[in-house]
């Protein structure tokens, strides 16, 4: 019931993507990660800090008229690895997707270590962070092997 009520806080969308179960306060980072924050062409609704049975409290993001791809959604693993995603077509859930981090995050963020070879953005090879553990999430740069600070990492989106 609580979840249904939350979903109604913002009008149901006709077509698009709903990202649910985002940890409270992380939805702005989700928008950053998905490059939605700067995209003014689609309506976006944001619900923050609403009660959740599963999480205590959570955020929800609804993006209208755009179906996010699996690759785009996989970026969410950095801030909202347990989020659930629904693709909406004609007001009904057409597809359910899950975030899948895989074992490497490629060309999403830049290593946070100031002396890593990848700090030179003119270097053309892919930025690669290896997933060394998923719970809790820990990442290491493929090149310099430094463990990454997740809070800092979010500022290093490419």
């Amino acid at each position: 019931m609580a979840d249904e009520h939350n979903m109604r806080r913002v009008t149901a969308i006709r077509n698009g993507t709903v990202i649910d179960h985002i940890p409270s306060g992380q939805s702005l980072k989700v928008l950053e990660l998905l490059n939605i924050a700067r995209d003014t062409s689609v309506p976006v609704s944001l619900v923050m800090n609403v009660p959740s049975k599963k999480m205590g409290s959570k955020d929800i993001v609804k993006v209208e008229d755009r179906e996010l791809t699996q690759t785009e959604l996989d970026r969410l693993a950095l801030v909202a690895p347990d989020s659930s995603i629904a693709i909406i077509r004609a007001y009904t859930v057409a597809e359910k997707l899950e975030v899948n981090l895989g074992n490497e995050v490629r060309n999403v963020v830049q290593c946070t270590f100031s002396n890593c070879i990848t700090q030179n953005l003119r270097e053309p090879l892919a930025h690669r962070l290896r997933v060394t553990s998923t719970d809790p999430l820990t990442l290491r740069c493929h090149y310099c092997q430094r463990p990454q600070d997740l809070d800092e990492l979010i500022h290093n989106l490419l």
Partner: protein, 314 residues
Amino acid sequence: MKGLITMDDLTNEDILSILDDASRLLPVARGETYLPLLEGKILGNLFFEPSTRTRMSFETAMKRLGGDVVNLGDVKTSSVVKGETLFDTIQMVDGYTDIIAMRHPRQGAARYAQDAARVPILNGGDGAGHHPTQTMLDLFTILQSHGTLEGLTVVLAGDLRYGRTVHSLSHALVRFGCKLILSSPDLLRMPPEIIADLREHGADVIETEDLLGNINDADVVYMTRIQKERFADEDEYTKVAGAYKLHARDVANVKAEMIIMHPLPRVDEIHPSVDSTRHARYFEQAFNGVVARMALLCRLLNIEVPAEIHGGEA
């Protein structure tokens, strides 16, 4: 194995078999016999920051085995100052050579170069990261003295934070079940992620600021240089560095077979009085750089080292 970037690129069996090759190559390294195993092969020496021993020993190793060397030369006069990326530099040298030895001030540069290159890369130091070819010569020196790499007690002392030689060496030693005593000033402690990796391997690791209190139990004492520029003021440096010095009188009660090593150059960490003790191994260690690198060059170029090499024969 494509290149050697960190010690994780080698299994324990690889390490022992390369060190076995190295011991057979000793007469070649000493110039007592000529064995042109690498004739027609070219090594690219890419040193983006200063190096004396590593660069020279790579060059000597290649030449003793009949191979040739091309050098990047002074970075200040190369295309690097014109803003060339490492990727582009590697593409060029990759086309000129059969194998590349490199040192770069940025961490991860060697792994990056390996991803960009067709030929094998030997990491001769990447920032404060790794220095695995140094580790191979260190292990060779330990094996020469103790006959084993297993279960030794090793004191690593000095700058454990920025010292890339001790980063690579510690990884290798714990894989052979060695006990590590990490002795450094608080400011220069081994990075926590390396300690975590070592403990994950089940390593017995002790961190301490005390050097002299721990050397009597040691089989190996590995000293490193504490750099003045790491400290905010000179007084602090003088106070700290003074606690990480060895004098001949300090080794009066150590184990008879204990060896003292240092990647060199040394400043004041090892007093010249230690040089004449039975424990000093740092000059042999520096020489072993040639033989260890000879064995590595052969392995990475898929050239088999003969089972028997006779010294003094042409």
